[in-house]
Subunit: 329 residues, 2 copies
């Protein structure tokens, strides 16, 4: 089978690629070809099969058509401008997150008009499609009222994915990712970056800034769990989804205080002491509009699985990013 990953150079794209290469199969079928695409050329994975690496802006004229011409069986569409940047740069956010997504779906439809074609499309959406006021625990039928341009763009992507699926142009699954912690590497422009930073930096013996109160509660998954969601979304039977193609993913609800307590258990008091409290009204305002917990019944019934605890989320990071070496406690 042929798999296309759009956004392959991003954090999740790289981890997904590594997992696909490691498995060498998807849903029981051997992976013959991997097409990896991003605005910068993705790294060449150690993959035995055919590999196609491209630096392409999905929203550029003809780009999506070029990508779909190879008729991939499964398309992971992970490419996105993150929340903070989509808020700061209105035009760029709409160009990449809306026009780019639509161009991809349209290219698939055009390819299918030439010759029957209906690829599985896994689209990374976000819990940012939801907006206040929130119940303490959000159900699967919660109304979409995004509070950011990013959330609006993701909600529109979900609507398009559902319509193109209903029409039979593609077979889409939208995955509303929890906030991913611990993100490896440097902070990105996501307003949620501190949720990772207050763990990642102390684990590396560095100071981290906490811009919100300890009582802030939010919804998390590890990168490893997120890759698991994507792979499951690529292989599950979509018949039970009906018209509702986008799903709240399972996760771990935790307060900042609970994050810090987990850090203390795994890495000791010295790590915790590296967290510096410096309230930031802009980030606090963002976070006020974020969901705290979900009851993702549909996703659980469909076999999606989350991390088992916040301690596990930290352990995943230590295993996957720090060579399994636990810092001195």
């Amino acid at each position: 089978m042929h798999i296309l990953v759009v956004g392959a150079a991003g954090m999740l794209g790289r981890k997904l690629t590594r997992e696909l290469v490691r498995n060498a199969t998807l849903g029981g079928r051997r992976i013959e070809k991997l097409s990896l695409v991003d605005v910068v050329a993705p790294d060449r994975p150690g993959f035995a099969g055919e590999t196609d690496l491209r630096a392409i802006d999905l929203s550029a004229s003809g780009a999506a058509t070029e990508l779909v011409a190879g008729r991939p069986d499964v398309i992971f569409h992970l490419a996105a401008i993150v929340s903070g940047e989509a808020e700061a740069d209105f035009e760029k956010g709409y160009r990449i997150n809306l026009d780019g997504t639509r161009a991809l779906l349209e290219a698939i439809r055009a390819e299918g008009a030439k010759n029957p074609y209906c690829p599985r499309v896994v689209f990374t959406s976000s819990i940012a499609v939801f907006g206040t006021p929130f119940p303490e625990v959000i159900g699967d039928d919660h109304v979409l009222t995004p509070l950011t341009s990013y959330g609006v763009q993701k909600a529109i992507g979900e609507l398009l994915l559902a319509d193109y699926s209903r029409r039979g142009f593609l077979d889409g699954v939208g995955v509303r990712l929890p906030t991913i912690v611990i993100r490896p590497g440097k902070p990105n422009k996501a307003a949620s970056g501190f949720f990772s930073g207050i763990l990642r930096e102390p684990l590396a013996g560095q100071e981290a800034v906490l811009p919100v109160a300890d009582t802030v509660r939010h919804w998390f998954a590890s990168p490893r769990a997120a890759v698991g969601f994507l792979i499951h979304a690529a292989t599950l039977d979509t018949a039970p989804l009906g018209i509702r193609r986008s799903l709240n993913m399972p996760g771990i609800a935790a307060t900042v205080a609970e994050e810090i307590a987990a850090l203390q258990r795994v890495a000791g008091e010295d790590a915790v002491a590296l967290i510096r409290r410096e309230p930031d009204p802009v980030i606090e305002k963002f976070v006020d509009g974020w969901p705290r917990a979900f009851n993702p019944e549909r996703a659980l019934a469909l076999g999606f699985t989350a991390d088992s605890s916040f301690d596990d989320i930290i352990r995943v990071y230590i295993e996957d990013e720090m060579g399994g070496e636990r810092p001195r406690a």
Copy 2:
């Protein structure tokens, strides 16, 4: 003040224009200029002020910019491809209902980037943004899961309207219209057309086809009530709307049997006898996905008002379209 009506040649656009001309004011301000636009040139209204009539396709390059250059204070955006046609012609539906709407919002944003500008934009959305399964009565927080391309396009329009309003580019109000009965004139391509047809044709002494069961229950407003919604949306204080810019409008919930009973009361048994039952599986499938009743608390609290009964809906038609002459009962 300067008012722009996009979609002014349509049924609702003509009635709205007539009402604006009759009132000569909107929200207490004198109307100095009316710009009326549609894909075909709207009829010249008997308006004492400046009138600008244009035949323009909103989705054509530069069209929206041209319309907004006159910096109207209030923009009614009624232009749309109806549900049946948007379902039959996928590309046309997206071009007019999505690209056209987005072009209008973008033109407003671009105008505001030159010089501060934040017009009131009244957008006609639809209860087609909702999809099954439905509760018996739909609340204001019901999830958006449209079952048609038209519904998806309207839901996307709502999301864009909310984001552009939040950003301060415009001051938007989305009006989720009930199904309008009795539509005057010839049937249009809307799948809901029969709800009007089974009243309008018998009132004119002609046969009408009823393609669904008598037990089908749906949500209605008269054209006069709909014009009232639009005018109220153009003048209300939008501060209480917050991020949720689109509202379920009040209406009358009625079964087909109740429609027919009202027809019988107003026009007699001879009229009812002109309804021929001829089930149409395609329309039945459409209608199965439609809401039955709403509890439009927010709109009622904001002062929107509906017709008082289905009999009234028929009387409005007789007054406004048949010169007040009640057919022989």
